[in-house]
Symmetry: C2
DNA sequence: ACTAGTCTACCGACCGCCCGGTAGGTTGGC
DNA sequence: GCCAACCTACCGGGCGGTCGGTAGACTAGT
């Protein structure tokens, strides 16, 4: 949940105002995540950070800008903590594992911003939405390219890279809907399980994966 | 999109009024799906069916009741077209295939109601929400039980049935976010691909699935 | 040390708008 | 004449957003 604080660190003037702004983004992301963007009022956010609505407007330009800021931050997070590390990996199979593991880990650590990223697109202004959608498409293409590379190596047969990429993304993003940090499973267990499933889902398993003796 | 019409057929008095009511549900589901429940006004729905807001209220009790009706219908759909057919299948592996195939097919045919079912839960009254969540949990448990049966047969090793069930559900539900009926892929292709991936994701693949010669 | 001015960080009150919902008609087919 | 199937007109309320202030920290001049 403290991940949004890095917004403050990244900007030049690292003073109290930036701390406050980061706190606002962090709370807004949490509430948007829990109640949904449209069901959340500016008053809700203001109250959560101990301000009045008018006071909050000293820090933000508007509700839609706030949403766009959170979603841009989430995309930055994805770029830095998933795509960049994975780009450095040459072997497609290892790269796929890196993508799934890093993405799943990010979601178990702080799902707010990343979940808003996929659920509240229609709340944005058309221009902002196009910006975010472009970046999302780049990510899916990155995964699809990795699957295509695996196919070229002969490790995957008969799988459409686009369908494969979308399916893996769905599996990963869905984690935020059921995983609870205080639940039965440790975050790293979940990350490992999902990574194993994802790899198994796309890798070529000779001609048949059943072990039935009767065939 | 005509699936909600069966609401009319299911109720006793199958006259013109029921046709109109079904048309309202169908349009409401489509708009809720496209814009989200909170971002959709009663006026939007009324206009879509060629009525004024007051005219619409002749048919519905309120916005929340409308949402609950749509979600209940979606759960009925899931029960009848996924769970019931799958329950008749004894072999766990075939049953899993049946679940994924039927569910994925349902989504490619008409994703509106089924997608609202998972995205707009917080729009319901607490009592209604509990009702829907119970039914959803039953579904996930049904899949998890199937995975547990596969594990008992030795076809799956080292996979937590709950994580497996959730992951498969995520993969399936995500289809509604990227599949377009007018796109490059045929619905049945997508259904088949996703089913293959889902089965591969959970089935035991001896000890290693790579084909690298260097190991 | 004292004061005058300035600026940051807020608040109370308010605006226009649109929301979900309703009261009380009106109309056309039987 | 009656009733199903609508409509026009309206309500209270909450929304996103703005305006005019102001307490208090800080700075500068004397």
């Amino acid at each position: 949940m403290t991940a949004l604080d890095s917004v403050a660190l990244r900007t030049a003037a690292a003073n109290g105002e930036q701390d406050r702004r980061a706190e606002i983004y962090r709370n807004a992301a949490r509430i948007f995540h829990r109640k949904g963007y449209h069901a959340t009022s500016i008053n809700d956010i203001a109250a959560a950070v101990g301000l009045t609505k008018a006071g909050l407007y000293y820090y933000i330009k508007g509700k839609q800008d706030l949403l766009f800021a959170i979603m841009s931050f989430a995309m930055d997070q994805l770029d830095e903590q998933v795509i960049e590390p994975a780009r450095k990996v040459r072997d497609p199979r290892t790269r796929l594992e890196t993508i799934v593991t890093c993405h799943a880990r990010l979601i178990t650590q702080d799902s707010s911003a990343l979940t808003i990223l996929v659920n509240e697109l229609e709340g944005l202004l058309p221009g902002d939405r196009a910006d975010i959608i472009d970046r999302q498409r780049d990510y899916v293409d990155f995964i699809a390219d990795t699957l295509a590379a695996l196919r070229d190596e002969g490790k995957v047969v008969g799988l459409d890279p686009t369908v494969g990429a979308f399916s893996l993304v769905g599996m990963i993003l869905w984690i935020s809907r059921w995983y609870r940090a205080d639940g039965r499973l440790e975050a790293e267990e979940v990350v490992a399980e999902v990574t194993r499933m994802a790899v198994a889902a796309v890798l070529n398993r000779s001609t048949d994966q059943t072990k039935d003796p009767d065939r």
